[in-house]
Symmetry: C2
C-alpha cells in the first residue's frame, strides 16, 4: 500500500495530467465528490462548489486556448487526512505558483481546492534555516 | 466552547488583525508551531518553513510600505482538523483573492499556509447551482 504522501503525489500528478491532456473525464475524477470544493483561477475571483469549479475547468479544457502546463518542484505537507501541495506551474508564457489542497475521501485522495497566481520574481526556494532572516520579500512589493 | 468553524473564523480574523496592526508578536502567534508552514506572497515564489515565512512577514510589517488590508467575504471549508478559508483582501490599490489553510494544534487553530493573488476581474461569487455551466472563465484568460 503506498504511503499517504505517495498517494497524494499521485493524485496531484493526475490533476496536472488531466489539465495538460484536456481530459475532462479525468478532471471530474480528480475533484472531491463529498468534501466541499473551491477554486481560484489566476486573476479570477472565487468559485465555490463542485458544479461551478468543474464548469470552469470544462470551459478551460474545451476552449481553443487551453494552456499547456507542467507542474514541478512539488512540496507536500500532510495534515492528517488533508494535504497541501505547493508547486510551480510552467506555461508557454510564464510560471505560476499553485496551492492545491487534497482531502482523503473513501475512494482516495481528491482535490478540494486550487489556487494559482503569477510569479513576477525569480524562483528562489528557501529552507527552514535560521540564516535567512534577510531574505524576506522587499518592502513595498505589494505596490 | 465555540465550534470549530467559529474558532477557525477567529484565528483567521486574528491573522488579518496582526497584518493590519503590523503586530509581529501577534503574527508569530497566528502561525503554527509544529505543523509544517508555507506562504506564497503575491508575485512571489514559495516560502517553506516557519522561519522563512515569519521573516517575510517581519519584512512586510516592519517595512515603510506595509499595506493596509481588510479581509471580507470569508468562506470556511472544514476538513476534520484542517480548514481552508477563502477571502477577498482589500488593499488601497486593489483586491486580492486569498487562500488560508489552518490546522488544529494542541493550542488551537493556527495558520499553516497563505497564498494571495491579484484579482483582475470583477468579484462574482457563484453558487453550486446547475445553471452556471456558461459562467466559467472565458477561454484564453491565462494569456
Amino acid at each position: 500500500m503506498p504511503s499517504d504522501e505517495e498517494q497524494v503525489r499521485e493524485a496531484h500528478a493526475a490533476f496536472y495530467e488531466a489539465f495538460s491532456d484536456r481530459d475532462m473525464e479525468a478532471m471530474e475524477d480528480v475533484w472531491a465528490r463529498d468534501a466541499p470544493v473551491s477554486c481560484i483561477h489566476p486573476g479570477w475571483s472565487l468559485l465555490v462548489g463542485r458544479d461551478a469549479v468543474l464548469a470552469s475547468w470544462r470551459s478551460i479544457l474545451e476552449g481553443p486556448a487551453a494552456p499547456e502546463v507542467a507542474a514541478s518542484r512539488e512540496v507536500v505537507h500532510l495534515y492528517g487526512d488533508t494535504a497541501v501541495v505547493l508547486c510551480v506551474e510552467t506555461l508557454a508564457d510564464g510560471q505560476l505558483m499553485a496551492t492545491n489542497v487534497l482531502a482523503k475521501e473513501p475512494g482516495g485522495w481528491r482535490l478540494v481546492h486550487h489556487q494559482a497566481g503569477p510569479i513576477s520574481m525569480a524562483i528562489e526556494f528557501e529552507d527552514d534555516d535560521d540564516d535567512d532572516d534577510d531574505e524576506g520579500p522587499p518592502t513595498g512589493f505589494l505596490n
